[in-house]
Amino acid sequence: MSLSFLLLAVAALCALSFYFGRQRAVALSGGRHSNLHSLPVHYGAYTAAWCGLPALALLLIWYMFQGSVIEALIVSDLPQEILDDSGRLSLALNSISLIAAGNGQHLTVEPEIVDAGRRLANIQTIANAALVVVMLSGAVLGLSLSYRKITADMRARNNIERIARYVMIACSAIAILSTVGIVFSLLFEALHFFTKINPLEFLFGLEWSPQTAIRADQVASEGAFGAIPLFVGTLLITLIAMCVAVPIGLFSAIYMGEYASPKFRAIAKPALEILAGVPTVVYGFFAALTVAPFLRDNGAILGLDVSSESALAAGLVMGIMIIPFVSSLSDDVMSQVPKSLRDGSYGLGATKSETIRNVIFPAALPGIVGAVLLAVSRAIGETMIVVMAAGLAANMTANPLQAVTTVTVQIVTLLVGDQEFDSAKTLSAFALGLVLFLVTLGLNVFALKVVQKYREKYD
């Protein structure tokens, strides 16, 4: 039975129990609703909640543990010599799951593994059937228990409202859970990585070539995991992006806020926001197929050697993407400068631009700095533009015409395709992710604090 069908079945059971609960309440009331503590709907909702929630909770717990339990069952029956070799083990598990899915005819493997594949298929069938039984019996059990509890003076409304409150708290807690999930999943794999590679070498090493060799005698068979070239590349592209986004964003915010007629504003402002709504993969395509060839051809005319995956192309396009971000944030900040400051300046005979430059801008500076920091954090974490337009070569250079690579590009290249979760190559992506997460988080917390402090000053 497929998952969606199971969910539909539980939903149907919930609807049924709502009807039963309500019917029972109506029957108990003897035709007069005032005999009941709560409205009949509350009794219905009460039974429905007790039918649906246990079933959903069981489903969630089941899915959390099903995978690892089944794997443990299969692994425990494999012969010892496969267990000892982690490479062989992951290969064996792969073929087992292929056989279980019925796609293993072409594989030539040991009979133990074929057996294990058959067993896995069996276990999966059993597990699916068990899930159906467990979920439906949970639903039915909840239904019957809550149905029995219904009496005329049961406080159904208070009960259902308490349940609703717990459900709401659980929903809010998901925000915390996902942060915890991010931190733990990154930390777990990153620590795993740091047992293989010294963290100091990772953070301060000057060479990045994660391609661990297949044969031991190949050059760089260990791979080099010095992330400094990636950090330099990320910073270079971010710097170029900021050189584009900050002046253009700031000036357009000033013009929109101070000079533009309402008519102009009504057209230009949404047009600018469109830039923020364009998916990043589209910018990546634009950077790789329009901007980069344009820069390369024009660079050739000027006698410059522009790489076809230059940092400049990725940075320019990323800057364009961030313009609306900078402009809307700084617009917010500048419009919060009290009118009295502005009026005072005008009263002294300053022109509009003098007021903006000498009064509003200094007053709004902390907020603008916060906005720029938020933009920097966004540029650092941006992935698709750099994946498509920046290169893979980990060059340590400050020359924007050369190809550089960034943290996000490396995460994508390391994790797309086949992964072995015990090689330093795959795990290094998680260490990079951890650095990325910590840096953007730090920038955001700091920037939000700056902006908030600035708000308090003028409130």
């Binding site: 996902s178 942060t179 999943s185 364009v278 509009k352 003098e354 966004r378 998680f430």
Partner: protein, 449 residues
Amino acid sequence: MTDMASLMEDRAAAKVISDNLRKPVDWDSPKIARNIKKRYAAERRFKIYGLVAIGIALLALCMLATSIGSKGYSAFYQTYVQLEVHFDPAVIDPDGTGDPAVIGRANFDGLIKQSLRDRFPDVTSRSDKRDLYGIVSGGASYDLRERVLENPSLIGQTRTIWLISGDDFDMLNKGYIDPTVAEGDRRLNDQEVSWYNDLVEAGAVEKQFHTRFFTSGDSREPELAGIWGAAVGSFYTLLVTLALSFPIGVLAAVYLEEFAPKNRFTQIVEVNINNLAAVPSIVFGLLGLEVYLNVMHLPRSAPVVGGLTLALMTLPTIIIASRAAIKAVPPSIRQAALGLGASPVQTVTHHVLPLAMPGILTGTIIGMAQALGETAPLLMIGMVAFIVDIPGGALDPATVLPVQIYLWADSPERAFVEKTSAAIMVLLAFLVLMNGLAVYLRKKFERKW
């Protein structure tokens, strides 16, 4: 600071004049007039900077649009070649059984090759023949099979039919391959170009609307590749995202706005929501890879995993928008409901939520639009696989529109450039539609209290 300086200079000049001559400042003196002129020029310059900045931003937008439009519009048309095909019964159904299974297995590719050889009888060498077969796409034989299965009376007849052409000839017909450049620098050799010219002169080359682009899944052959598979994958992914993030987001927003006591837990939740909104999307991909695939062993490349990952990403957007919408409902409504004896939960479900719903829906649609355009986290959870079949459910391997764009952008064939641009146009059309719906909802239900 130069303007402040010139303002100061202005005043200093005025002071000198008034001190020296002991009479009121002559604001009409040429010196002051010069200074004012200078300041006004600075003012004009400043204004122009602002206009230029907006101009650059809008120019970039226009360039983006024209670059994609001009590259992609041609993908909606496909070159077809007219050939005389003899539906040879000896090939299709030698025993005359009329059994669809037999017809389905027949070598229709051979029929097309035969008719190409008949059309250009002077081609003899093996490699030339291979080039010749490139005129017609490898997918044309499927079309032929469909045609025969639909209408078995064709067997034994000879018909002139339009067949979908190979991608290189398509590119030539659309003008992307320039036949005047040196032979070694283009994908088609002189002989192939001459065949093409021969066919054009005979009126046997035509561009038709490319419905296959909208109805088929991915393919290695550009002329056969379509976006329907990716669109369906996007649909299932968004469905899962919506089913999770909408109820969870709204319930969390209601709790935080209406019920939450001011305590440590609430504070932590709020800080977390703000931070999650700024976490790079690729980090959510890493989370999805680790938790959903490695720990929970959910199927790789499945829309359900993509949806789960994107749901976590869109949750902050929905919560923040819903909170703003709930906050905008005036307290008098709540007080009236409470005063009439409604419980707090009833107040919220009967009055606050319905009134806040347009705002919540607007925020949700915008969050969904973001999720539709998201690529990076889906790369992490394996939605980059090459998948030809149209996914039949949320557990089948699938890809999504932006990832399809990424995959095609990486393909070396020239014909995929126009496919990529066309897919971008389709994606942007969906985004415009969704955002337009959000704006419409906001305009229609906007309420000033």
